[in-house]
């Protein structure tokens, strides 16, 4: 549509968008509000909008014993995280891949997570959070590296076998996980991998790899073949050309794909529930609060819902560009 010039029209546009967006974010905002109340305030009718907020639900969610200098620790945590995220974002936007930097971010997070239990006594929600991070990161790394190889080959090689692989990938990326729950459960029993990170990552890679393959193929198809051919004329093997020349060019596409795979892994509920007994991820851990007595004795369930959503919010805030790109190119080119 051509731009609307008349000021009243523009006002209506902004108003409509604002109304839509506020309705859309209402459930989240309401949950945040409820999580800051005590139970009496949360149950009150009519709903309270002005009250003295308490962070008790959050502290009892995360800590076994609440540390005395909590505000300072929180500040440190937020600053460190923010720094890592900002630099990770800078890297995601760069035109070149920097595996070393990615590794550094991972090491930083490892240290961060490792340091926290040394400082404070954390509750089990923290363990579930760490599990989620491990599983999500593992899934993304493996799924993306495997499928960028495959996606590249599929983009450069036509023919029946390539088409077969793609068809299978496409068919499987939209199947209900329910169909796989029992076979995976048996796989876990047979291999003895029940309740291990390895199994969870393997299964999630299996589920999301077709999608990543599909998406990366379409990204690679945008890159002219001449680029790696020039390098190969200079004597580089195809693999070297792929790693040295193509991956840097492809980096934004890889980041987009990785983000979507991360979302998929983070969202998984049913399979994780079937396959793990101890190493729950956050969506499964949330069943500790939903539908149990907790929802009638405190506001911790609201806090848990907020805490599960916040990492995703951060993702949206810092990686919006890449997410939108991934979502739209996945569909537009698909």
């Amino acid at each position: 549509m051509l731009p609307v010039k008349n000021p009243f029209g523009r006002f209506v546009i902004y108003l409509t968008l604002t109304i839509y967006v506020s309705i859309t974010s209402l459930p989240f905002l309401w949950t945040v509000l409820q999580s800051l109340k005590n139970l009496r305030q949360a149950n009150a009718r009519p709903p309270l909008f002005i009250f003295k907020p308490t962070f008790e639900s959050y502290t009892s969610l995360w800590f076994r014993t609440v540390p005395k200098d909590l505000p300072w620790l929180m500040l440190g945590f937020v600053v460190v995280n923010l720094a890592i995220i900002v630099s990770a974002r800078a890297m995601a936007r760069r035109d070149a891949s920097r595996l070393a930097i990615v590794m550094l971010v991972l090491v930083s997070y490892y240290l961060l997570f490792w340091a926290i239990p040394q400082i404070v006594k954390t509750a089990d929600f923290y363990d579930f959070f760490v599990n989620t991070v491990i599983v999500t990161v593992g899934t993304v790394i493996i799924a993306v590296s495997v499928s960028s190889l495959g996606g590249y080959a599929l983009a450069r090689y036509g023919g029946i076998s390539g088409a077969m692989i793609l068809i299978v990938a496409l068919a499987f990326q939209s199947l209900p996980v329910m169909a796989f729950a029992l076979p995976y459960f048996q796989l876990a029993t047979v291999t003895g991998l029940q309740d291990s990170y390895v199994l969870l990552i393997m299964v999630l890679v299996g589920l999301h790899q077709p999608f990543a393959l599909w998406m990366l193929r379409s990204f690679f198809m945008d890159i002219p073949q001449e680029i790696e051919e020039a390098a190969m004329v200079d004597g580089a093997s195809r693999l070297t050309a792929f790693v040295r020349i193509l991956i840097p060019i492809m980096w934004p596409g890889i980041v987009s794909t990785g983000l979507l795979v991360a979302l998929g892994a983070y969202h998984e509920f049913l399979l994780v529930r079937v396959l793990t007994q101890l190493r729950w991820t956050l969506p499964v851990a949330i069943t500790k609060y939903i539908g149990t007595v907790y929802s009638s004795i405190n506001t911790v369930p609201y806090a848990a819902a907020v805490c599960v959503t916040v990492p995703l919010l951060i993702l949206v805030l810092f990686f919006q560009e890449q997410l939108v790109k991934g979502l739209s190119s996945g569909a537009v080119k698909g």
């Binding site: 930083s108 400082i119 029940q194 007994q277 149990t292």
Partner: protein, 505 residues
């Protein structure tokens, strides 16, 4: 080397330093560590942090890829040394505090002991005590809780896989213990109970509790919590309308009519009929109160499609119509307990352990006027429609760790001293403790248990029956099926499924 890249390196080096300082502060600042040469620890980790910082800066000036490696290495080394110190500090402190919490001889091999259950006052309190055993060398305790039906599903998955159970202790109710008992998924505890009977004074737990957990002579669970159904009501509203606490379902319906018009009350009375299993439970209490039963004497043949069954269901339906409506049908016990506390429900039939929150001023808006009475009977003079419910802790049959150790850990939580603490929150199972309970609802609870409908029937087919009933009874509540039709359909379903599974010939 471009600018952006070195900027990223700078930033990362800074985080590493920040992290180390953070972890150093933590280990030095934590009060218990103070005993463990605080200055030395602090200084050492600070030194480590500084060295990391120095290395990091070096790396930056070099500004090459190898810098990255160096930064990481430096950071990791320094970090590890701090880690070791920090952990050392912590173990020392905790072992000194251990004595009060967990009196167990440390096992020779490291053992991971995991508990699976559903949250409630009992698990919340007991789990904290179980956690104390973390302080014993070589023991690591995990506590996992999820909503009741999810937890039962997790058990099904874990025990049916045929591999070693990841859980050492599983929470059981009267209903779930049956499912697991007849499948052979729980370890008989008779040997352990005999060994430790005198040490932990197990005779103090009344025989009725043990009986409900005994299947073919095998005791499959340790009674940890006792529970029953109570009537909780707003005495101020009842006085205002000149009502007494109802003792049967007709009186409940009458009271509802009076209280319906009360401002702020959306549903005058509620009992849990929010799901299929909840209907099955309520129906069990009602049919027993009427003198009927789920199963025919000594077998798996269904007996619920009887005049008593129809009468019980009709009474339930009357209460639904007079008191609850669709709104009440949708409320689970956790919701209407909250509703009683915030004043939108006038009286409820619910689990006794919800009582503590009713009189807690920080949770309830009517702590002084909510009162407790025994559960109502269906017909005047009948048995009270509240079952004797226990929660058990069991050890899975497929658990491969040391059952002695796990048993002793359970006993730490069920010790008389601990049960005295627990008795402030809910009903416990040791007679010596329960008899001196100071809970506001203790009298009502004792009366319901003694004059009530007793424990759940024991049958391997109970689960099948509950599912069959759960599929049709809710439709009576909405008026889609008559009580008679619903019971007939449930009976047909039950017979079909029980035959497939071999419970009926």
């Amino acid at each position: 080397m471009n600018m952006a890249r070195s900027r990223a390196f700078c930033l990362l080096a800074l985080f590493e330093v920040a992290l180390l300082v953070l972890s150093a502060c933590g280990s030095a600042g934590a009060p218990p560590t103070a005993a463990n040469q605080p200055s030395a620890t602090g200084a050492a980790s600070q030194a480590a942090a500084t060295s990391a910082a120095v290395q990091a800066t070096q790396g930056m000036t070099e500004a090459s890829t190898s810098a990255a490696v160096q930064v990481t290495q430096g950071a990791t080394e320094a970090a590890t040394s701090t880690a070791v110190q920090a952990t050392q500090g912590m173990t020392k402190v905790t072992t000194s505090a251990a004595a009060a919490g967990c009196n167990i001889k440390p096992p020779a091999q490291p053992q991971e002991v995991t508990f699976l259950g559903w949250p409630g006052w009992d698990v919340d309190t007991y789990a904290k005590w179980l956690d104390d055993c973390n302080s014993v060398n070589n023991i690591k305790v995990n506590v996992r809780t999820m909503d009741n039906s999810s937890a039962v599903e997790q058990m099904k998955l874990a025990f049916s896989s045929g591999s070693a159970s990841p859980y050492a202790i599983v929470h059981q109710s009267n209903s779930s213990i049956q499912q697991n008992a007849y499948k052979g998924w729980l370890r008989p505890l008779n040997d352990l109970i005999d060994t430790y009977r005198s040490q932990y004074n197990l005779n103090d737990i009344a025989q009725t509790h043990w009986d409900a957990a005994t299947f073919d002579g095998k005791i499959l669970g340790i009674p940890m919590q006792s529970n029953t159904i109570l009537l909780m009501y707003r005495s101020d509203l009842f006085e205002k309308h000149n009502l007494k606490a109802p003792t049967n379902y007709d009186e409940i319906s009458t009271a509802c009519k009076a209280l319906k018009s009360e401002p702020g009350i959306t549903v005058p009375f509620a009992l849990d009929l929010s799901a299929g299993w909840a209907w099955a439970t309520a129906f069990f209490e009602a049919i027993r109160s009427e003198g009927g039963d789920f199963f025919a004497q000594g077998g798996n043949a269904p007996a619920f499609n009887s005049p008593q069954g129809v009468a019980a269901l009709t009474k339930l339906k009357q209460v639904v119509d007079a008191c609850m409506g669709t709104q009440g049908l949708a409320m689970g016990y956790e919701q209407f307990q909250a509703a009683l506390r915030n004043g939108s429900v006038a009286f409820i039939h619910t689990w006794a352990d919800g009582g503590a929150a009713m009189v807690d001023p920080s949770k309830s808006q009517f702590p002084n006027v909510i009162k407790f009475a025994p559960a109502a009977a269906v017909e005047p003079g009948g048995k009270l429609a509240g079952s004797a419910w226990d929660d058990y802790w069991s050890i899975p049959a497929s658990y491969k760790g040391d059952p002695d150790l796990v048993f002793q850990m359970i006993m730490q939580v069920a010790s008389p001293e601990r049960q005295k603490e627990a008795a402030k929150l809910g009903l416990v199972t040791r007679t010596s403790v329960a008899s001196s309970s100071s809970l506001p609802y203790a009298t009502a609870a004792v009366e319901t248990i003694s004059k009530g409908v007793g424990a759940y029937p024991k049958s391997p087919a109970l689960n099948v029956m509950e599912t069959a009933l759960g599929n049709y009874l809710p439709l009576v509540g909405t008026g889609e099926l008559s009580p008679k039709d619903a019971l007939q359909k449930a009976e047909a379903d039950y017979i079909k499924e029980a035959k497939t599974q071999g419970f009926l010939k």
